[in-house]
Symmetry: C2
Subunit: 196 residues, 2 copies
DNA sequence: TACGGTAGCGACACAGTGTGACGCTACGCC
DNA sequence: GGCGTAGCGTCACACTGTGTCGCTACCGTA
């Protein structure tokens, strides 16, 4: 009875989230999730490639949004400023579904397997940023390095935000970038690297 | 016939590396590895918790080495300089087994599952760095942020090194830190964050 | 040399994940 | 009203990872 298709997917996602929260990720089987959603195990894998992927479903949209955000940043800005602006433009969307983000964060935090997948998604975002920087004229080495570091700082802000209900993502992002700048300029020696 | 114990582990590691290289990670089964090593599947899992973990066996020693390296850095150095010195002290050890590193890098690069695990190991190193920075008096936010970013830069240098046989890790590490410094100071606006 | 303890392994048995193939049925479209 | 198809159920299956039991080669000790 293929009523909607999207309905089953929603039920599966909801069921998985509840079971992961209640009994933990490892203690939850695909059979449990499928039963709760009223479908078969096979149907689960038709909608999600993975047992983990249920929690990273909106990542696809986030990647597209980031791509567009990077595309919309004026070419006059420095690479660092461009990254910052693109990241900040994602803040409202993040803030909009904070409730879900908090729950997800708690589950992922205590499950190594899910933490692995989350790091993969961050790496994917980093690749997107690197592509954008490369298109802005940066060389391969610089584009990748800056993308990795910038994405890492962004991720740090998001994690802190997800763990603290009273915080504000956008402010934390700004703070992270500002702190990095301070740390870099605070070093009296311009290139401490050459001193070791 | 438990001749040595460590012998079986070595044979398993060698067999896995060869099979992963020849047929790819996904196409290689535990049965294949065990057969090639002359043991049972059960024995494989007695030595390695995972099918992936075979490739990340020396990571434990690397984590210990990094911990000691961070412990040996003079307290007078700035946090960034301290990280850099600790990372650089690991360079000889890395350079010593470059052959293995290159093979590993190639396998990991084309296997998402292994890339996930590698990111996990990097995260573990980041945690170690964060602990050290926290012990140096940095607040939680700064310690974690700086550790993440620094470890990311280090990882970027190592990846570039593993992919380019003619390169030198230590030089790349120095280069990465120097470039980050340049990017931060190149921004005419001290805090571009506040301008968006 | 004999003996007891133990570390390492083989041998099942089993739960759980993920994939392939086939058939059915409700839905949209002409 | 018939047709194509998307979505699902149903088997069947390969592979990963764990628990348990029993065996055997090695160790130190007397």
């Amino acid at each position: 009875m293929p009523r909607s298709g999207a309905q089953a997917r929603d039920r599966l996602e909801r069921a998985a989230l509840e079971l992961y929260t209640e009994h933990g990720y490892d203690q939850t089987t695909i059979a449990d999730i499928a039963a709760k959603a009223g479908v078969t195990q096979r149907t689960f894998f038709r909608h999600f490639t993975d047992k983990r992927e249920v929690l990273f479903n909106n990542e696809g949209r986030q990647q597209e949004a980031l791509t567009q955000a990077l595309d919309g940043v004026p070419r006059t800005l420095t690479p660092v400023a461009a990254m910052l602006q693109a990241f900040r433009s994602m803040s409202p969307s993040l803030e909009n579904n904070r409730p879900l983000a908090e729950v997800r964060h708690q589950i992922i935090a205590v499950t190594p397997a899910l933490r692995e997948r989350e790091l993969m998604k961050e790496a994917a975002l980093s690749t997107i940023v690197a592509d954008a920087l490369r298109e802005r004229g940066l060389a391969e080495w610089n584009a990748t390095l800056l993308a990795h570091v910038g994405t890492t700082a962004w991720g740090h802000a998001i994690h802190t935000w997800a763990a603290d209900p009273s915080s504000n993502v956008d402010a934390l992002i700004v703070q992270a970038f500002a702190d990095l700048q301070d740390f870099a300029t605070a070093n009296t020696t311009a290139h401490p690297a050459t001193q070791v």
